[in-house]
């Protein structure tokens, strides 16, 4: 419509006879709106603070590591697991801040009754929101790993030969980003769905993850359990160990008390994620509207 004169044409109400995409379209809308919210796209500046901070701060050490390796002509090896393991708490900050952005806000502003009377079932709602958080976390976790991977090839004297040698590292890069995003997004989404208050949810997510550190440490010190066993209780430490194994790196304690194989870790982390996802669906199906 181009306004050619100043007349306002009241067309009245028009019926809509066009296409309806039903549940599929509704799922896509929920996913896409949630995914954008994870990075604060189209939202006020303050909602962009955490995603931008985490993305930048996790990428910087990766860039530094690549630069150091380049400056020493590859003498200083790039240690993927060390770099990414040190960022674990930042990824936790991202999921603790962003999961409530979707799940608590919808409860707090009472949007759920509007959604559940449309082509959105409760299960679809839970899965679309979880998928949005998972994708966002996957990208955030993947970014520094990709920098390391591409950097290692880029700074090598003979990129072609290096690529041929380490092409198989892409698997661990993708697998680890997936595992980290899966565990953190499912657990944060489940905990956030329990309350309409964002602050409580953020505290619950951080408290939940860090609480296991205390338990793990306590069992080790007081009950005298082996380090390899108690570390399995702490998901973040388990992620770190898994990264070490995936990228073929090692630490002193791992040589003293060898941890279970990498596939035990992968299976445990996957199962934890599925349990949390099931908890999320269970909670959303029961949340009063």
């Amino acid at each position: 419509m181009t306004p050619t004169d100043s007349t306002i044409h009241d067309l009245g109400y028009r019926r809509y006879d066009g296409e309806r995409e039903g549940a599929r379209g509704a799922f896509r809308a929920l996913y896409w709106q949630g995914f954008r919210a994870m990075f604060g796209v189209g939202r006020p500046m303050k909602t962009k603070a955490v995603p931008v901070f985490v993305s930048v701060v996790t990428m910087l050490p990766a860039l530094a590591s690549v630069a150091a390796s380049g400056a020493t002509q590859g003498q200083l090896p790039i240690t993927y697991a060390n770099v990414i393991g040190a960022q674990a708490l930042l990824f936790l900050l991202f999921s603790a801040a962003q999961a409530p952005e979707m799940l608590c806000r919808d409860q707090q502003h009472r949007v759920l009754p509007l959604l559940f009377t449309r082509d959105v079932t409760r299960t679809h709602y839970a899965l679309a929101r979880l998928l949005a958080l998972f994708t966002a976390m996957f990208l955030v976790a993947l970014a520094p790993l990709l920098i390391l991977y591409l950097g290692e090839i880029g700074v090598a004297k003979d990129p072609g030969a290096t690529f041929a040698k380490m092409g198989n590292k892409l698997g661990p890069v993708l697998l680890f980003a997936t595992l980290l995003a899966w565990v953190m997004s499912t657990v944060s989404a489940f905990l956030s769905s329990l309350t309409p208050r964002r602050a409580y949810a953020t505290a619950a997510v951080i408290g939940g993850f860090l609480g296991t550190v205390v338990i793990s440490q306590g069992l080790q010190d007081l009950a005298g359990m082996s380090e390899a066993a108690t570390k399995m209780i702490d998901p973040i430490e388990t992620l770190r160990t898994t990264a070490m194994q995936l990228f073929g790196e090692t630490k002193r304690w791992m040589e003293l008390t060898p941890p279970p194989s990498v596939w035990v870790h992968v299976a445990a982390l996957t199962a934890l994620g599925f349990a949390a996802a099931a908890g999320l669906v269970w909670r959303v199906r029961r949340v009063p509207v």
């Binding site: 067309l11 009245g12 109400y13 028009r14 019926r15 809509y16 066009g18 296409e19 309806r20 995409e21 039903g22 549940a23 599929r24 379209g25 509704a26 896509r28 809308a29 929920l30 709106q33 189209g42 939202r43 006020p44 909602t47 806000r105 502003h109 009472r110 949007v111 009754p113 509007l114 959604l115 559940f116 009377t117 449309r118 082509d119 959105v120 509207v289």
Partner: protein
Amino acid sequence: MAAPLITARSLTRRYGAVTALDALTVAIEPGITGLVGANGAGKSTFVKILLGIVDPSEGDAAVMGHDVVRERANIRALVGYMPEHDCLPPDMSATEFVSFMARCSGLPVTAARERTAEVLRHVGLFEERYRPMGGYSTGMAQRVKLAQALVHDPRLLILDEPTNGLDPEGRDEMLALVSRTGREFGISVLVSSHLLGELERICERIVLIEQGRLLRAEQVGALTSETATLVVELDGDAAALAAFVARVAAAGLLVQAERQRVLVELPDTATPAALDAAYDAVRDAAAMSDTGILRLERRRGHLQDLFAEAGA
């Protein structure tokens, strides 16, 4: 009579020891229907069962022939819901919010955007629609809530207390909007309120519930049936009015003057012929006494009387 829009059969909903709906059986036809009851009478529970967000404990209900429990998915596209409570995220704009809601009803992106612009214009929201909704007045917020209920072109609009929190002027505007939506666009409306007076003005039917039970369900016309009093509003000076009253009285009708208004009692045994004669007498009296008739109508009973009756 048209096919029922909504049917409920011994619909019961219990929350623990509290019975919110108690064997409610009612059939509601297309058109604008008012759902009236005091706070806690079970209006919201009834509405939520129809919408499929609360399950009935016993009994069943259907919207446009679809069972509210088994055929929930079929009802979604047919119904638009405006809740009683706030439901607008403060940092979203009305345009963003309404078009997101349209997409959640399965409309493709372009269609969602077009429908959003149309319904927001329809409810009377213009430049404000790009601003975050946190800064909206209650009146504007209510308009957005109505717009999101209309955006996917439902056949039935369910409005839960749409005038809550509005000032008298805002109330009138909202009621006019609801009335226009129902009458001009052919969308059936079920509107709940605890204020009978405002529903009387816009509804064709009233369903009255109390403590989860149906009290009455009738046409507003039947509830507020015509009385035997004819109200005549006249234009003219005092002498002309006096002449008019004298002439009507001479025709053998009981007449009472109230300033510019004259009440004429019609004969009790009102055969059509007798009524016509009475109307003719009024018309002739006006013509001969040099007064103009501004309004001529049968006085109606008020719903308020019905409420008092039901409460007794």
